[in-house]
């Protein structure tokens, strides 16, 4: 998923052992239970703040890095209309990154610090963007299925408890619905086109199938669970539930085009749960830890942008101005 809420065992342990002021904690939890949002100037548990910063920051990085595989194809879009749509989509993604950085800043981490942590590899971003967009059909599949997966994730998260994150997500989901529609349009055109167009689409679906299953994170049986994150409405649905919702919505929309998924075991069982072959969770871990096909390139491109643009940002800085945490 975009912003991971999977905890390491150590983190889960720390979460359960951090002691907070019981009176404040009770009022905080009661507010969330009533369905009210938490605003930046409210008291909040240290771990709530920490997990939200991590999640929102990862989500922001995912938007920024996510613009790279798609940006690659702007100069090679097959026609002017597709080029315009792709430019608009990539601009949206970068804008989403900006909105999310703003939301994370309200929790007390500066944007520069987040940028530095992205470049140093300390902060993660969605694994799905460590794979290459080899052909134009990859752009269609990313626009339809990766954005589709993102919408499932973001729509659920927009019901969370932290006000600034929810507000950012509502704006984002509104714009993402255009991404999804143009992605679907692109997929349908390829699927109903020439033999070659169908072949590159099938090839792209084959290659993106496993990264898409990885998108929502490891299965619930494999990830450290935190009741607290659920209670605090930081995490609102389990990885498996979100993955199932995604498969339920999008598998039929690919199959109806007579395009297949490269997994003989992909099917919905009688309980409405989608079953699939093990998508190789070791690969997922390898890629997260920096060894995917594009990890190094993605960060190198970001570092290039940071270094090449540094003189501009330095020229703009007024040394007498102090950094201000955004209000909302």
């Amino acid at each position: 998923m975009y912003g991971s809420t999977n905890l390491t065992e150590e983190e889960a342990k720390r979460m359960n052992s951090t002691v907070e002021d019981p009176e404040k904690l009770e009022a905080f939890e009661a507010r969330i239970a009533r369905g009210e949002k938490i605003e930046p100037s409210d008291w909040m548990p240290t771990e709530y703040r920490k997990q939200l910063i991590r999640m929102i920051e990862q989500h922001a990085h995912s938007e920024i890095v996510g613009a790279l595989p798609e940006g690659t194809w702007i100069t090679r879009a097959p026609n002017f209309r597709r080029k315009l749509a792709l430019i608009a989509k990539v601009q949206d993604e970068v804008g989403h990154g900006q909105l999310l950085y703003s939301a994370a800043e309200t929790l007390g981490k500066t944007r520069e610090q987040m940028m530095d942590d992205l470049l140093s590899g300390k902060s993660k971003y969605s694994n799905v963007f460590n794979y290459p967009a080899k052909t134009w059909a990859d752009i269609a599949v990313i626009g339809f299925l990766v954005d589709g997966a993102a919408i499932v994730n973001q729509t659920i998260n927009s019901k969370g408890s932290y006000g600034p994150y929810c507000r950012a997500l509502e704006r984002i989901c509104y714009e993402e619905s255009f991404h999804l529609k143009q992605g679907h349009d692109n997929v349908v055109y390829l699927a109903t086109g020439t033999k070659h167009q169908r072949a590159i689409l099938q090839d792209a679906v084959n290659r993106w199938y496993r990264p898409l299953l990885h998108f929502f994170g490891p299965p619930d049986t494999m990830s450290a669970h935190s009741e607290k994150l659920m209670k605090w409405k930081v995490k609102l649905a389990s990885n498996d539930d979100m993955r199932n919702q995604f498969l339920d919505m999008y598998v039929p929309k690919i199959l109806e085009l007579d395009i297949t998924f490269p997994d003989p075991n992909l099917k919905k069982n009688n309980d409405g749960i989608w079953e699939f072959s093990d998508p190789d969770w070791d690969e997922f871990k390898r890629v997260i830890n920096g060894n995917g096909p594009c990890n190094a390139e993605r960060l190198a491109v970001r570092k290039f942008a940071e270094e090449a643009g540094r003189w501009v940002r330095q020229a703009l800085i007024n040394p007498s101005e102090k950094y201000q945490v955004p209000l909302a």
Partner: protein
């Protein structure tokens, strides 16, 4: 496609993404033109921040101007340009305002209770004033026919 065909393609994709630790030759010709290897070893330098601006959006003439988010910029002009890109890309906009975050004064949310009695003061609401019963009682008592 038969089951055997699907099995074959499933096996085929297992190895289709090669895992490399060094920088790949990019699919993006622009990326290949950059000397990324040199850059990738470069130092990270933390910069100071630009000024934080709160952004306010007016959708239509006659509507309220509402807070919609923030931008970082060094001047008000730059803040307005960035605000336009960020908050006026979709839908309607009549105007945008920006104000330095440091110039905005607020109550803290911990003071929310000072507003608590506001909804209780029903004597300030039109529905609080009901006189029909009293008029009818008066009319019955005094045999007033209109």
């Amino acid at each position: 496609m038969g089951a055997s065909g699907i099995n074959k393609s499933f096996r085929k994709i297992s190895g289709s993404f090669s895992i490399k630790t060094n920088i790949m030759s990019s699919l993006d010709p622009r990326v290949n033109r950059l000397d990324l290897k040199k850059i990738a070893d470069g130092e990270i330098q933390t910069n100071s921040h630009l000024i934080t601006w709160e952004v306010f959006h007016q959708e239509k003439r006659g509507k309220q101007v509402e807070h919609c988010g923030i931008v970082h910029a060094s001047t008000p002009e730059m803040a307005l340009i960035l605000a336009k890109e960020q908050y006026a890309r979709r839908g309607k906009t009549t105007n945008l305002w920006v104000a330095k975050t440091s110039d905005v004064y607020t109550f803290g949310t911990e003071d929310e209770d000072i507003f608590e009695t506001t909804p209780e003061k029903t004597f300030r609401e039109p529905a609080f004033y009901k006189v029909r019963d009293r008029i009818e009682k008066f009319q019955n008592k005094n045999k007033v026919n209109v």
